[in-house]
C-alpha cells in the first residue's frame, strides 16, 4: 500500500527495472537466467520488507496519516456486525469527526466509538479531517454513559490529528468537553479497550484512549503534539520534524517500553490492511483476548486497576525521606 510514499522506494524500483532489462536481454540472447532472476527478485522483496520493518519514526508518522489506510468506520465494519450508528450530543449538533454506535463484536454487544477521517478531500472536509469538536466529544460522552447503563464493553478506535483548533470549538468549550471525557472514561464501569489505528494526535486522541488495555498497530503513532508542532516551537524550524519524531518516542515499541500501551499488532507490508486476512485475524484476536481478560474481572477491581494504570505514569526524582 505504501509503495510510493517514501524516497527509499526509488532504489528498489530502480533495481526492479534493471532486472526487467536483464530478463528481456536473456530472452533476446536465448540464455535462460530465469532462476537467477527469480532469486534476485526474491532478494529485493526481502530487502524491501526488511526496510519496512525498520521505518524511522518520521516515516511511521507519514504512514500513520496515509489516506489509503483504513479509517475507523472500516475497522468497525470489518470487525463487528450489526453496527448501528448513533448521532448527536443532544446539546448542539452531530460531529462527523467522531463516529459511534452499538454493534456486535464476536458474541457480545459492544459500544464502538472513534475519530473518523475521510479518504479524499471531499470526505475529509465532511469529517473535518478527523478533528473532533466539542459536540463530538460530548456525543462520545453520551454514548459511553449509555454503554455503562446497558453494561456493554467499549471499543474505541483512535485516528486523529487532534482536537479541532477552531474559534467555534473554543467558544463551545473544547477544553471542558475533553476534560469531561477523560474524567468519564477513567471511572466508567464497563471494560474499555482502545485501538490506535493511525495517527494518535494529542488531547483529541487521548480523550478516547483512557482504557483498560491499549492496542496499537505497528505503524500507528501516539504523541503529545505533532512532530511539526514540536519542531516549530522548540527548534523554530518545521523542517526538522523528523528529529522531533525521533525524540518524542511516539511509535508503538517506544510506547510499549514506556508502558503506555499494552500490545502491538503487526501490519502486513505493501497491502491494504483490511484486505490481509492474517492481519484482520490478528487484530480481532488481540481485541478479543484483551476484552475477555478485562471482562473477567470484578468491576470494582477493574476500575481500581484502570486508576492504577494511570496513576503510575510519569518519571521523576524524589529524595528518600
Amino acid at each position: 500500500m505504501a509503495n510510493n510514499k517514501f524516497e527509499f522506494e526509488a532504489a528498489y524500483r530502480l533495481l526492479e527495472n534493471k532486472l526487467e532489462e536483464l530478463r528481456q536481454l536473456s530472452e533476446t540472447l536465448e540464455c535462460d537466467f530465469s532462476n537467477e532472476i527469480a532469486n534476485v527478485e526474491k532478494r529485493i522483496s526481502q530487502l524491501r520488507a526488511e526496510r519496512y520493518k525498520h521505518l524511522t519514526p518520521w516515516e511511521q508518522v507519514i504512514l500513520s496519516r496515509d489516506l489509503e489506510r483504513p479509517m475507523t468506520r472500516d475497522y468497525i465494519d470489518t470487525l463487528c456486525t450489526d453496527f448501528i450508528e448513533l448521532h448527536g450530543d443532544r446539546l448542539y449538533g452531530d460531529d462527523p469527526a467522531i463516529v459511534g454506535g452499538i454493534a456486535v463484536f464476536g458474541d457480545r454487544a459492544v459500544t464502538v466509538i472513534g475519530q473518523q477521517k475521510g479518504q479524499d478531500t471531499a470526505e475529509n472536509i465532511r469529517h473535518n479531517f478527523g478533528m473532533p469538536r466539542p459536540e463530538g466529544f460530548r456525543k462520545a460522552h453520551r454514548l459511553l454513559k449509555n454503554a455503562e447503563r446497558f453494561q456493554r464493553p467499549v471499543i474505541t478506535f483512535i485516528n486523529t490529528p487532534g482536537a479541532d483548533p477552531g474559534i467555534g470549538a473554543e467558544e463551545r468549550g473544547q477544553a471542558w468537553a475533553i476534560s469531561q471525557l477523560l474524567l468519564c472514561l477513567s471511572s466508567l464501569r464497563v471494560p474499555v479497550v482502545s485501538v490506535i489505528t493511525g495517527e494518535g494526535g494529542s488531547g483529541g486522541a487521548l480523550a478516547l484512549t483512557i482504557a483498560d488495555r491499549i492496542i496499537m498497530l505497528s505503524n500507528a503513532v501516539f504523541s503529545v503534539a505533532s512532530p511539526e508542532t514540536c519542531a516549530s516551537i522548540l527548534l523554530r524550524d518545521v523542517k526538522r520534524a523528523g528529529e522531533m519524531a525521533e525524540a518524542l518516542k511516539l511509535n508503538a515499541p517506544a510506547l510499549k517500553d514506556l508502558r503506555i500501551i499494552d500490545a502491538i499488532v503487526d501490519e502486513p507490508l505493501n497491502e491494504n490492511l483490511l484486505g490481509a486476512p492474517d492481519f484482520v485475524a490478528d487484530l480481532r484476536s488481540a481485541i478479543s483476548k484483551h476484552l475477555d481478560e478485562v471482562s473477567a474481572q470484578p468491576l470494582d477491581d477493574l476500575i481500581r486497576q484502570r486508576y492504577q494504570r494511570l496513576r503510575v505514569i510519569g518519571q521523576f526524582y524524589e529524595p528518600d525521606l
Partner: protein, 288 residues
C-alpha cells in the same frame, strides 16, 4: 484584615499577551510598559498595586509563592512534595538545560507548589502553578503533585484549591506528559466521588492540556480578569484557520459569556471570595 507579607523581589511582567508591547523590558531602567495599555510603570508602583496596572487593571503574572501567600492565612502554608524534580525520561534534546535554567530563574524545583494551608481559618489543600517555570507546562512532576494534592485532600477530607497557569503539556516528556492529563483527571474523579469541594482559579494564561484536564473539572471555576484561557492558543487558531479572532476572544470575560466560568474575580478580592465559598460549603459556618 489579612495582609500578605511579600518578600522584596523583582516585579515580573509577562509580555506574552496578544497586545505585545514593542518596547523591550530593559529599555528604561526599572520601568516597564504595561503590555495592554502601554502605561509606563515603575517596579515599586507595580508591587504597591498588587501586580496589576492602575490604568487598565491588567493583572500581571505573579509567582507561585506570591499566589500562595496572597490566598493563605499568614504563616499557615505547609509545603508538600517539595523534593520532586523532573528527570529527562526520553533523553529529549536540551531538556536538561531548560530545566536547569528554569529552576535557577525561579528558585523552584518545578512548575507547581502544593501543600496544606488555612484560608480564613479553614483548612484546605492549596496549589499554585508557576508561570515562569517552562511556561507552567505539565510534565510528570506537575501531574504527580496535582494527584498527590487531590489524594492528600481525600485523606484529610479537605477542599482542594488550585491556581492554574500553563502553556499546556510539556512536549519534552512526550506521551508521559500527555498522560498526566488523564492521570490528574482520574484523581479529580475520585475527589468528586469523595464529595469534596474542588475550586480552580484560572490565571493568565491557562491553555492546552491543563485546561483540558484538571483545571476545567472543578466544582467552581474562577477566572482572573483578562486572563487568556482556552485549549488551542490564539496564534495557532489564527494560523490554522486563517480566521480573524473576535475581540476579547478566549479572555475571562468572553468565557464567562460563553458559559465556561462561574465567576470572574479581581485578584485583590480572590481571597475573600474563597473564604465565602469555603464557608458556604461548610454549611455557612466559617472555621474561626
Amino acid at each position: 484584615m489579612f495582609k500578605p507579607t511579600f518578600k522584596p523581589r523583582k516585579a515580573y511582567i509577562d509580555l506574552s499577551g496578544i497586545s505585545k508591547s514593542p518596547l523591550s523590558l530593559d529599555s528604561r531602567e526599572g520601568n516597564f510598559p504595561c503590555p495592554t495599555c502601554s502605561t509606563w510603570l515603575s517596579e515599586a508602583e507595580i508591587i504597591k498595586n498588587n501586580d496589576f496596572c492602575p490604568r487598565c487593571a491588567r493583572h500581571f503574572a505573579v509567582t507561585a509563592w506570591e499566589r500562595i501567600y496572597s490566598l493563605c492565612d499568614e504563616g499557615t502554608f505547609e509545603e508538600w512534595d517539595s523534593g520532586l524534580t523532573s528527570g529527562n525520561p526520553l533523553q529529549f534534546p536540551d531538556y536538561d538545560a531548560k530545566l536547569q535554567r528554569a529552576s535557577e530563574d525561579t528558585h523552584l524545583p518545578e512548575a507547581i507548589i502544593t501543600g496544606k494551608g488555612i484560608i480564613g481559618g479553614m483548612e484546605c489543600v492549596v496549589g499554585a502553578m508557576e508561570p515562569r517555570f517552562m511556561m507552567g507546562s505539565m510534565g510528570s512532576v506537575v501531574g504527580e503533585k496535582v494527584c498527590r494534592a487531590a489524594e492528600g485532600a481525600m485523606e484529610r477530607s479537605l477542599p482542594l484549591i488550585l491556581s492554574c497557569c500553563s502553556g499546556g503539556a510539556r512536549m519534552q516528556e512526550g506521551m508521559l506528559s500527555l498522560m498526566q492529563m488523564a492521570k490528574t483527571s482520574a484523581a479529580i474523579g475520585r475527589l468528586n466521588q469523595a464529595g469534596l469541594l474542588y475550586i480552580t482559579i484560572l490565571t493568565h494564561p491557562t491553555t492546552g492540556g491543563v485546561t483540558a484536564s484538571f483545571a476545567s473539572l472543578a466544582d467552581i471555576i474562577i477566572g482572573e480578569p483578562g486572563a487568556l484561557i482556552g485549549f488551542t492558543g490564539p496564534r495557532v487558531i489564527e494560523q490554522t484557520t486563517g480566521q480573524k479572532l473576535p475581540a476579547g476572544f478566549q479572555r475571562s470575560e468572553y468565557l464567562l459569556q460563553h458559559g465556561m466560568l462561574d465567576i470572574i474575580q479581581p485578584r485583590l478580592e480572590m481571597r475573600s471570595l474563597l473564604i465565602r465559598l469555603l464557608a458556604v460549603h461548610q454549611g455557612g459556618r466559617n472555621g474561626q
